[in-house]
């Protein structure tokens, strides 16, 4: 775990400790994501409670916690799949209150899913093109009548989709039906599809699940590469600690819907609350 230390000590922007505990790259800028006392109740059960998190531009943050801690629920709150029962989510300073999933997506938030949700009867390229839906547009009638605009925009979509697929070297798979891809490739395709929407904030829900150690390492490099290339912030949920500790600049630990710790990888690893949440309480007097 120690070999894959954070390899970005040479970047110009230095993590600055800020009011948000998760270190930010620049406290003077409006954060890409800010949540204020965010919470949701399901029939009396507080699945997420008083969740405060701030993520600055081009920051990679991790959200970890034991199973059932409410990590995916947080994602669903951020993307408006659930309407929060308390608190607020701000993207780039704009409140998401009352917005639909589609509106939240247009503000620049994109995600992948824990249980892969590809358009599995469509090809790989078509999946990416759905991501480009609001980026490269033309209306229905240009499509039906095959007007010049159709040909022009289709060509742009194709070129852009190929560029994006190139991030993971997936151009060769462009014509495959996405449902028939191997598991790892499906996960990567989800990331490409999310990137196609040109997000400011990318949410990755267990991107390394089902990947072998080699693939995970590759993914780690790619996450950093994506951040540098697209200049976006990334928040990821992951159980693979080598990935989280290796790539995340700030980590937030969730247990029973509450944040129990925030900080850098080293701080988190040394935090007694975190150790307790993962391994259980040390028995009194036990040696």
């Amino acid at each position: 775990m120690t070999e894959v230390k954070r390899h970005r000590s040479d970047t110009k922007m230095v993590p600055v400790p800020s009011h948000s505990i998760v270190p930010e790259r620049d406290v003077n800028e409006i954060p890409v994501l800010e949540t204020r006392h965010l919470g949701i109740e399901f029939g009396g059960l507080k699945a997420v409670d008083d969740f405060n998190l701030t993520i600055g531009k081009t920051e990679i943050a991790g959200l970890i916690g034991p199973n059932g801690a409410g990590k995916t629920t947080v994602f669903n709150l951020l993307t408006k799949v659930y309407e929060p029962t308390s608190g607020a989510v701000l993207i780039d300073g704009k409140d998401l209150h009352g917005m639909s999933i589609v509106q939240a997506s247009r503000l620049g938030i994109a995600r992948t899913f824990q249980n892969i949700r590809l358009f599995d009867k469509m090809t790989v390229e078509e999946n990416v093109r759905i991501g480009l839906h609001n980026q490269i547009k033309y209306d229905m009638f240009s499509g039906i009548l095959r007007l010049p605009r159709y040909w022009k925009q289709e060509k742009r979509q194709h070129e852009r989709a190929m560029e994006l697929l190139d991030i993971f070297g997936m151009q060769d798979l462009a014509d495959e039906v996405s449902g028939s891809l191997p598991y790892g490739a499906q996960r990567r395709l989800e990331i490409v599809r999310a990137l196609a929407t040109e997000p400011k904030l990318l949410l990755l829900d267990e991107p390394a699940a089902g990947m072998n150690p080699h693939e995970t390492e590759e993914l780690m490099e790619n996450i950093a590469k994506i951040r540098d290339q697209f200049q976006i912030a990334i928040l990821l949920i992951e159980h693979d600690m080598s990935l989280v500790m290796g790539v995340c600049e700030g980590i937030c630990v969730l247990n029973f819907g509450k944040i129990i710790a925030k900080g850098t990888a080293d701080e988190i690893q040394a935090n007694p609350d975190v150790i307790e949440a993962y391994l259980g309480k040390r028995r009194e007097g036990g040696k």
Binding site: V81, S100, A110, F119, M140, A174
Partner: protein, 360 residues
Amino acid sequence: MTKAKRKRLIYNLITFGLVIAAFLILQNMIATKSISRSLKGQLVPICSWIVMAVSLNLVIGFSGELSLGHAGFMSIGAYTGAIVSGWLLAAFDMQDTTLRLVLAIVAGGILAGIFGVLIGIPVLRLRGDYLAIVTLAFGEIIRNLVNVLYVGTADGKLQFSFLNKNLPENVTMLVDGAKGAVKIKPISTFTVGFVLIIITLIVVLNLVNSRAGRAIQATRDNRIAAESMGVSVTRYKMMAFVTAAVLAGMAGALYGLNSSTVVPTQFTFNQSINVLVFVVLGGLGNVLGSIISATFLTVLPEVLREFADYRMLVYAVVLILVMIFTNNPTTRAIANRLFAPIKNLFHGKHKESVGGGDAK
């Protein structure tokens, strides 16, 4: 050109090619009088059922919603067509039958489209079975409405009423309640039907292979993921639903103007299920399949007339056998092997694995 693009192009070429070839052959047969009278009478209905099947396929196969009221839109089209055609004749003395037919078809499509929007707005926000139930109810409501609808022309003006006695004395009835649309001058022609099929194919196939069409299919495959990508699900489900309604209305006008009367009982729930059978048999999302199954299943009952009382029994057995054979992996493998040489002609050196390739 990429592999997927080429595959799609070949599929479209086969679809259009088959329709055009069938049209030319049938035209030739009509010219040489080598076609039976019963089949000749079936040509226009076949055209309208093909359009019905292809348009319903857009809703069920591509947008993934189960609509059980497609015959309702057809009935709107049929009645509108009969009224418009009768009115144009009475008010403007329009003798050009083709122009009258085209105008009637356009009017039928527009009105069915309006109803599609009205029903779609509340219903397409719902998920799953709700759409099926509401569209089913819609079909029945339309049937009951036209059952008490009276329309006539007096001095070139259209008169509407839901009560017969409200119409003036000197009226010429166009729609006479439960008797249906009466005294229609049959003006539908096979050529116009063929053109309507081609238009339908252009609309559906081009729509499916465009930005909007991909969005429609994305909402089918995964609603949440589509929304997360910024695709407005309701909007695109609506687009598919209304497009299908317009096409069904056009098919209805063509169908209605093919005979001298149109009665409400022609467009019952059974008829919607019939179209659903065409779509399912042809394959969800398979336009060519819809065309073939609509043709086959429209002609089949006529061919089976010699079985007299056992006609519907044999029809059902044939249907079951076809479903078994087209969905059975073994029979599909055999069929793929038989067609492999033809497929390889198109695909060049790409060899299809046996039993793998779908129709699309």
